[in-house]
């Protein structure tokens, strides 16, 4: 898990280091607002919203998302996404923790369909009902710095955005990766690709002792033990963020490795 934190920190810094330069023709399939002054790449959500308002199919954006998702599934969610990193850090704050009901994981598909695709298509990107107007990542990266720079000038749109941000951040404290599971449209787009991605979180063949340690450490509560026990890769799940925490926590794998080391 510590190794993943370093990757996440490096990604956070690398993705927000564009002092002048930028590559906004490239969609990076993580939630990072391209209006951030330091952003290198385009946010897929913003691009999809605009293309929906244009009435055009975003070949390059969708092609990039499909390519990345087919290769690594939702690996970027677990190892690169800066907003995911923020949520992981917030979840470390000691508090009472909750598990969200499984049905809430389907809300993000409605967010994707309505607030990213249909409403911008029918109402234009100037409508108040697009995801970008409520995006917590944009609130953190753009709205908050602008709010401070403008001398704390508050508008109703700013207030709503901060309200959504507050709810999401509190949700991250009490429930691991709650935003990713419930609201993230990028997660909704990439979720089905977890089933076909080349990247797999390999089960420890024959070493599973059904201790359910993997379920305990799972960031998104997708119960990897059910798959690992049957020899199915743990990341073959819609909401798995391919963090590999289950693999690292696997006691059966560790025991098998110890036996192998002892045999040598």
């Amino acid at each position: 898990m510590m190794k993943r934190r370093w990757y996440q920190l490096a990604s956070l810094l690398a993705l927000h280091s564009a002092w002048g330069m930028e590559a906004k023709w490239l969609c990076n399939p993580v939630l990072s607002c391209h209006s951030c002054a330091l952003a290198w790449f385009a946010c897929p959500v913003g691009v999809l919203v605009h293309y929906a308002s244009y009435g055009l199919f975003p070949f390059v954006a969708v092609g990039t998302m499909l390519l990345v998702g087919t290769l690594v599934g939702k690996l970027l969610c677990g190892w690169v996404c800066p907003f995911g990193f923020v949520q992981d850090l917030l979840h470390k704050i000691p508090s009472r923790k909750f598990h969200l009901p499984a049905w809430t994981n389907n809300i993000k598909y409605l967010v994707l369909i309505f607030m990213v695709l249909l409403l911008p298509y029918f109402l234009g990107e100037a409508t108040d009902w697009i995801f970008c107007r409520y995006c917590p990542a944009a609130a953190l990266q753009v709205t908050l710095p602008n709010f401070i720079a403008s001398g704390l000038q508050m508008s109703s749109a700013t207030l709503i955005k901060f309200g959504v941000l507050a709810i999401v951040l509190i949700g991250a404290i009490v429930s691991s990766r709650s935003f990713c599971r419930v609201l993230c449209p990028i997660g909704a787009l990439l979720a089905p690709l977890n089933y076909i991605s080349f990247w797999v979180v390999k089960p420890a063949r024959g070493a599973c002792i059904a201790c359910k340690k993997c379920d305990d450490v799972c960031s998104t509560d997708v119960k990897p033990s059910a798959r690992l026990l049957n020899g199915v890769p743990a990341n073959r799940s819609l909401d798995c963020i391919v963090c590999h925490d289950c693999k690292y926590a696997c006691e059966g794998r560790q025991a098998a490795a110890a036996v192998m080391a002892g045999a040598k």
């Binding site: 605009h50 244009y54 390059v60």
Partner: protein, 96 residues
């Protein structure tokens, strides 16, 4: 799905979009009208600047980059620039 992704990327590389200049926008102040001096009589002629094109063809990647700051909007079934693309703008934020 990998093939689909590559096909989409290839299609994007071959896809071009017509983005129109806003007809109500002021002409660019940077336009220079060259002059020619006819040496024997000293007459000068002013050649007017070429007319601004009605639209510009841009690639899907360029449209994607412009989408990140609402540099292009759709109006009356056409895409229009919201700024003068010939002028260097620097980093821009998306108003959404």
């Amino acid at each position: 799905m990998l093939v689909v992704a590559l096909v989409l990327l290839y299609a994007g590389s071959r896809c071009f979009h017509q983005v129109y200049y806003d007809p109500s926008a002021e002409p660019s102040a940077a336009v220079v009208t060259p002059t020619i001096q006819n040496s024997p009589d000293g007459e000068t002629f002013t050649i007017p600047a070429p007319p601004k094109p009605l639209f510009e063809q841009i690639s899907d990647s360029d449209l994607l980059a412009n989408a990140t700051f609402t540099g292009v909007v759709r109006r009356d079934g056409r895409l229009y620039w919201t700024y003068d693309p010939s002028q260097k703008q620097g980093k821009q934020a998306c108003p959404t």
